[in-house]
């Protein structure tokens, strides 16, 4: 079986969409995203992963990936919407860059026993960022990494 391609598309100044197909039914893919025993086995990309998860709307999670370079990378967020087994909205924050909170909406659709995962990441959202990020610099930083491809186009033109 060939490895499926991950596509990353920018759809607006603040949103990107990632699409990936996996060879498994939707219920199973949902379980892999929502249950501690499953998350522990893949989310860390092969690295040991600590999972704290309170899977309910308003509940929070914290995943700590222990990389083989000796560093640990922690991610945290809150579950905003849960519609099993097809839609999950949660915030996502890398503790190494605190304040840069993305809101990820995962949608699962099943086609012939395979599942299409579509994740829309919104990088700036007033309602979610209230009280967390207010500085102009953070705002600029968030807008600008989405503008990076435009820059790279200019620089290589």
């Amino acid at each position: 079986m060939t490895t499926e391609q991950l596509t990353v598309d920018r759809i607006s100044d603040t949103e990107i969409v990632m699409t990936r197909v996996v060879d498994a039914p939707r219920e199973l893919v949902w379980a892999c995203h929502t249950q501690e025993e499953h998350l522990r086995r893949w989310w860390g990309r092969g690295n040991p992963l600590d999972v704290e998860i309170d899977f309910r709307v308003g509940g929070r999670y914290r995943y700590v990936e222990h990389a083989d370079d000796g560093n640990s990378y922690a991610f945290r967020g809150e579950f905003l919407e849960i519609e099993a087994p097809h839609r999950l909205v949660q915030t996502f924050e890398f503790e190494g860059m605190p304040g840069h909170v993305a809101t990820d909406s995962l949608v699962l659709t099943e086609e012939d026993g395979r599942t299409v995962l579509t994740t829309t990441s919104r990088f700036t959202s007033k309602e979610d960022l209230d009280g967390m990020v207010a500085s102009g610099m953070s705002d600029g930083a968030q807008r600008s990494y989405l503008a990076l491809d435009a820059l790279l186009r200019e620089l290589t033109a």
Binding site: V22, A24, V29, W42, R45, S144, L148
Partner: protein, 112 residues
């Protein structure tokens, strides 16, 4: 307290500054030369140059009369590396999910 990456991102957030960087890929230029294509004052361009300089994206000559600007691509490499990490981060994650789903389903078939 701003980290370097944030400073670079903030500097890149402005289209005039990106255009200045694009111009500098062609070689050194003076402030006057850099300002020419833009309908803004020399002062405004100077402010943009200060932001770029602080972010480490450009370096300026020492000569008081002729202080040419040149591009320092190192911070851009950092940004590009960061973007690549983001992509790889998710790519690896999904690749591991593939393996795991395959294991789970193989196991289901065995026990079915």
């Amino acid at each position: 307290m701003a980290d370097r990456l944030s400073e670079v991102f903030a500097a890149l957030a402005d289209p005039t500054r990106r255009a200045i960087l694009a111009r500098l890929t062609e070689g050194e230029a003076s402030v006057n030369e850099l300002a020419a294509p833009f309908p803004v004052s020399l002062q405004a361009i100077s402010k943009h140059l200060k932001v770029l300089e602080r972010a480490g994206l450009i370096a300026r000559g020492r000569d008081a009369q002729w202080r040419p600007c040149r591009l320092d691509p190192e911070p851009l490499r950092e940004v590009a590396t960061w973007m690549e990490q983001y992509r790889r981060f998710w790519d690896e994650r999904y690749a591991t999910l593939d393996d795991y789903l395959r294991d789970l389903q193989a196991h289901d078939e065995e026990t079915a």
